[in-house]
Symmetry: C2
Subunit: 227 residues, 2 copies
């Protein structure tokens, strides 16, 4: 139990760490999009040779996996953990919290749905959701299916939104995004696709958070156990 029995470093300075690599990857992702988090880019950003990254991660997929896990670990569980709240409100709080977190790093969203989310933080979130649905009165089978349905909705809607915004232009605050969407949909030929054009105009009139909550509530309506 000596106060400082740290073994002496024989090699060069320990300038890297898993955390610093993920930090760099996230920064690159944030202002360069999903493809910007290259091994070489990360290495350059932390001031090291490209292959030095392989001391900490076996390959790029492992870096991405660790990054996804970190982001899922940042989700605040308190906002939906209160068992005094009605279960629907708790699911909504979880869905909104997830959306808020992922919206901070749009470039990471394609990476999340690109691979299986099976890390401990992902499983912890899934576990919470299943508890919630059990509280709601769903049996094991229905809870399993409903949780999968909710996960598909949350990640699917965020992914589609990110894909649209990414193509329409760089990131903008929520209020400005409406006009951008209206612009993107303006190209819809009204004569051939009248309903699509009208729908696009309608959607553009709402803040995307409203759309998100509307869909979530329809979904909860469908899931709610019937008497």
């Amino acid at each position: 139990m000596s106060t400082s029995a740290l073994p002496r470093r024989r090699g060069p300075r320990r300038s890297l760490s898993e955390a610093s690599i993920l930090d760099a990857a996230l920064v690159l992702l944030d202002d360069g999009g999903p493809d910007a988090a290259s091994i070489r880019g990360i290495a350059a950003r932390v001031g090291v040779a490209p292959n030095a990254v392989y001391t900490y991660f076996p390959d790029k997929a492992a870096v991405v996996k660790a990054l996804v896990e970190r982001l899922l670990g940042e989700v605040d569980h308190d906002v939906f953990a209160d068992p005094e709240q009605p279960w629907r409100a708790r699911v909504e709080a979880l869905a909104l919290e997830l959306r808020d977190r992922l919206s901070l790093h749009p470039g990471a969203v394609p990476l999340m749905i690109g691979g299986p989310m099976d890390g401990p933080h992902a499983l912890a979130l899934n576990e919470r959701l299943l508890e919630l649905l059990a509280d709601a009165g769903l049996d094991g089978t229905d809870a399993a299916r409903a949780s999968y349905l909710l996960i598909v909705y949350v990640f699917g809607s965020i992914a589609l939104e990110v894909a649209d915004v990414h193509h329409a232009g760089p990131l903008a605050p929520e209020t400005d995004r409406i006009s951008a969407r209206r612009g993107a949909f303006a190209a819809t030929p009204t004569e051939k696709f009248p309903r699509s054009a009208a729908a696009a105009a309608t959607m553009a009139d709402y803040v995307s958070t409203e759309q998100y909550l509307w869909g979530l509530r329809r979904l909860l309506d469908g899931i709610t156990p019937r008497p």
Copy 2:
């Protein structure tokens, strides 16, 4: 109106076409995954120099866009066009048809959700869906939102499924996929995440088409206009 006023080709043989390029891209995608459809790979497959592709498409994004449009154009509209059928059955037919088509080319699914689906075939499908929802009695706003919800569900669930299967191993027929999924989820630590482990076991007992239809029907329940 001469029978053959085609201008003489001065350059080398016209060995390429938009269609042949897309054919090659699809083949590469099918047995190599989402990243296999490279410009250089396509060119090699049609027996041409890499930059020859740029005669027909301005960049790789245009190739992907055209490929997505082609696949959406292959969707059979007849299976859900019959206005005599109840609207829910028609939506289910559309959702199943889309899933069947996309499952034939799993490698193309990430490309679809990666960019906006705003081509004529995509809009035509959206138009059909909006007609369906209008028949169901939804007003313009609800139909717009409901169609978006359905699109998120269809593409989101297929994307998540593809991501899982791609990581679990190469493509397998529906029946064999169950055991693969059971194997993938077997790693779930039962002590720390009891509900997740149980849910994984439950999900593995069902064919994924059943899960898909279950979610779709819950969603339709939530969408169905209430008296």
